[in-house]
């Protein structure tokens, strides 16, 4: 009761069905090329148009190559899917940031960056990482393609209201501990299914002190705990970030908006269905050893012994280690690394490139490591150049690619070969996620850089100035 989640959700309920879902109004629908073609078909079959086309924004990101974007996509199947979005956006009169548009990038990087995702909004997209937009103080969640069709047809979605959870993290993060480590720590503690049925509000001094980039990372990974979404009450950091962006309110409208946004917080008397508190001092640089994001440990720890795993989970634990080619009880430090991926809606923002460069500076990419450094958007690519980060990285033997989802799910050419190990700043280490047979170790940009310059899993703190 009286949580920020209640305030935003309840103010968007158009009607409700007795013993059924709420009819929730969506302020924004984002569309990428993978989960929308069948929804557009549904509308065509019914002979209807988008109900509120001005609230829908489309851009390709999953299939886009990370090089030669000025040329047609070589893979004919990927090209067909991207072309379908281009055509559908035109046919239905929707805003479209195509591959050659300077506003293009990963949808969850672009939305906030353009000022399209604003505090107090409800935001949906056919993509589980829609939770990212929660960092601006919005209720944002991923939906299926049928639900995308619903929103196109009515700007509403039928949805049961999730329960609310508050996660507080108090204290100060140690040197070398990144927002990604906070998220990996939470996933380990809460497990990959522990947030199911909940919407999470993140709070506490660690979150308050965090940059917007860090907040996006934390909210992005809410879904990896099974939570529908996660968000952070807007504050000065949020307003500072949004001010002057393309679609952010301007002039008097801005002042009015900020005055309203300042009211968006959970009441002192707010009652959550669940509250958990963590101490920042317990969080260390993390890495995953298994095949779900909850299978993380401090990078300096050993892989757990089987006896420490609850009996019901031992089959899955063994299967995961077998897939990864690891053994229970062995250390992660020193493990061989073939690939490094910096990017994705999780860690593809300028701060992530700054962090990576802080370790790469004055060093060189290890021989035998293939590194893919992929900005989350063209805007991020511009920031990287403006700050001279590109020079540092190139001097260290790294190449910056063009924006897109890339090796996070390998729908383009950036695929990790079977059996190879990739230290990745993305969000999922599922079997085959980065290409059939690929083995993913999730970590922060700092840890990814440490692996890239040494060729093995390394504690980033040992390389920090």
């Amino acid at each position: 009761m009286n949580t920020l989640f209640d305030k935003i959700w309840d103010s968007h309920v158009v009607s409700w069905i007795e013993d059924g879902p709420d009819q929730l109004y969506a302020d924004r629908l984002y569309c990428h090329e993978v989960t929308t073609p069948q929804a557009f078909d549904e509308l065509r079959q019914r002979g209807i148009k988008c109900f509120r086309p001005e609230k829908i924004f489309c851009m390709p990101d999953h299939n886009t190559p990370t090089h030669d974007q000025d040329k047609p996509i070589v893979d004919p199947v990927s090209k067909k899917q991207v072309d379908a979005l281009t055509r559908n956006a035109a046919e239905f009169g929707l805003s479209y940031f195509g591959m050659n548009d300077p506003r293009n990038g990963i949808i969850h990087v672009v939305g906030p960056e353009r000022g399209l995702s604003l505090p107090g909004m409800t935001i949906v997209c056919g993509d589980s990482h829609t939770s990212t937009h929660g960092a601006v103080g919005a209720v944002a969640f991923g939906i299926g393609t049928s639900e995308v069709g619903m929103v196109m047809a009515s700007q509403c979605i039928l949805q049961r209201k999730p329960k609310s959870m508050r996660i507080k993290i108090e204290g100060k993060l140690g040197n070398g501990v990144a927002p990604k480590d906070v998220a990996l720590y939470l996933m380990k503690k809460i497990t990959t299914g522990g947030g199911t049925g909940y919407f999470i509000e993140y709070s506490g001094s660690v979150i308050r002190d965090m940059s917007m980039e860090g907040r996006f990372t934390v909210c992005n990974l809410s879904i990896e705990m099974g939570a529908r979404g996660g968000f952070i009450a807007p504050d000065e950091t949020t307003f500072e970030y949004l001010k002057g962006r393309e679609y952010s309110p301007k002039g008097q409208e801005w002042d009015k908006a900020v005055a309203y946004w300042k009211t968006l917080k959970s009441g002192n008397d707010a009652v959550f269905d669940k509250e958990i508190e963590f101490d920042a001092a317990d969080i260390k640089p993390m890495i995953t050893y298994g095949t779900n994001p909850g299978m993380g440990i401090p990078v300096t720890d050993n892989i757990p012994e089987e006896s420490s795993i609850p009996e019901a989970g031992r089959d899955s634990f063994r299967k995961a280690l077998d897939y990864m080619g690891f053994h229970a009880g062995e250390p992660m430090i020193g493990k061989h690394v073939d690939y490094v991926f910096l990017g994705a809606c999780t860690n593809g923002r300028v701060e992530d490139f700054r962090a990576f460069a802080s370790i790469a500076e004055g060093r060189h990419k290890a021989a035998g490591v293939t590194a893919w450094l992929v900005p989350g958007s063209w805007e991020v690519a511009r920031q990287i150049r403006a700050e001279g980060i590109d020079n540092i990285l190139e001097a260290a033997g790294f190449e910056i690619r063009q924006p897109g989802c890339s090796a996070c799910l390998a729908m383009n050419d950036d695929k990790v070969p079977a059996g190879k190990y990739c230290v990745s700043t993305s969000n999922r280490n599922f079997q085959g996620r980065q290409g059939p047979g690929s083995r993913t170790l999730l970590a922060s940009p700092l840890a990814a850089a440490a692996a890239a310059v040494t060729g093995v899993v390394t504690d980033p703190r040992t390389l920090m100035k």
Binding site: S15, D19, E42
Partner: protein, 198 residues
């Protein structure tokens, strides 16, 4: 496919693993399809578990185990976690599964199943454990899922459990109605809401 759901009694396929993610149910490379061809998705259900890298069926995977069959999938907890891809529900439906039984489902995937008339049946961990035992002891074990009375019965043990589903979704599944049908009939309220918040 809007296939109405009432009562089914059938044998089950036991997928005795927790946290089965939608990347396993349908790998990303199959998401490039621009149509909703359930046959295509069904053929690629659990593709990388069903087939080895050389393309031959993996005999160790349960879908290739001739002892098991039927239209009900029984899976470990947190089924369908990860990606929101509805293609996972299309693949389950395309393969022929009408229902999935687990102790809990990931939220987005659960909705995707419901929107495709595949029934997610949530049972207690104890019931699930017993069900796995019954099926693994005798693959001919039949299970009855009765949507009108919201019960699931393990015919081997005779044990029954009630499962939750909201009244609205139950009505949709039993009558072959989807949410768009409902929302399109409700446009006045949406405009009313928009005028109110202006």
């Amino acid at each position: 496919m809007k296939q109405k759901f009432d009562i089914i009694t059938d044998t089950c396929v036991p997928l005795h693993l927790d946290n089965v993610d939608t990347d396993q149910i349908i790998p990303a490379r199959f998401l490039k399809a621009t149509t909703r061809d359930e046959k295509f998705f069904g053929e690629n259900l659990f593709r990388d578990w069903r087939y080895r890298q050389d393309g031959t069926p993996d005999p160790d995977f349960v879908l290739n185990d001739k002892r098991y069959g039927g239209h009900i999938l029984v899976a470990g907890k947190n089924f369908g976690c990860g990606s929101s891809r509805e293609h996972a529900a299309w693949a389950l439906a395309g393969y022929g599964f009408r229902a999935v039984i687990s102790s809990y489902f990931a939220d987005i995937h659960k909705n995707n199943e419901l929107n495709n008339f595949v029934l997610p049946v949530v049972v207690s961990e104890g019931f699930l454990r017993e069900l796995f035992s019954s099926i693994e002891a005798d693959p001919a074990t039949k299970v009855t899922i009765d949507l009108p009375s919201q019960t699931v019965t393990d015919t081997a043990t005779g044990r029954s459990e009630k499962f939750p589903i909201d009244k609205y979704k139950k009505y949709c599944l039993m009558n072959g109605i989807d949410d768009i049908d409902y929302l399109l009939g409700n446009k006045n309220k949406i405009t009313e809401y928009e005028n109110k918040i202006k």
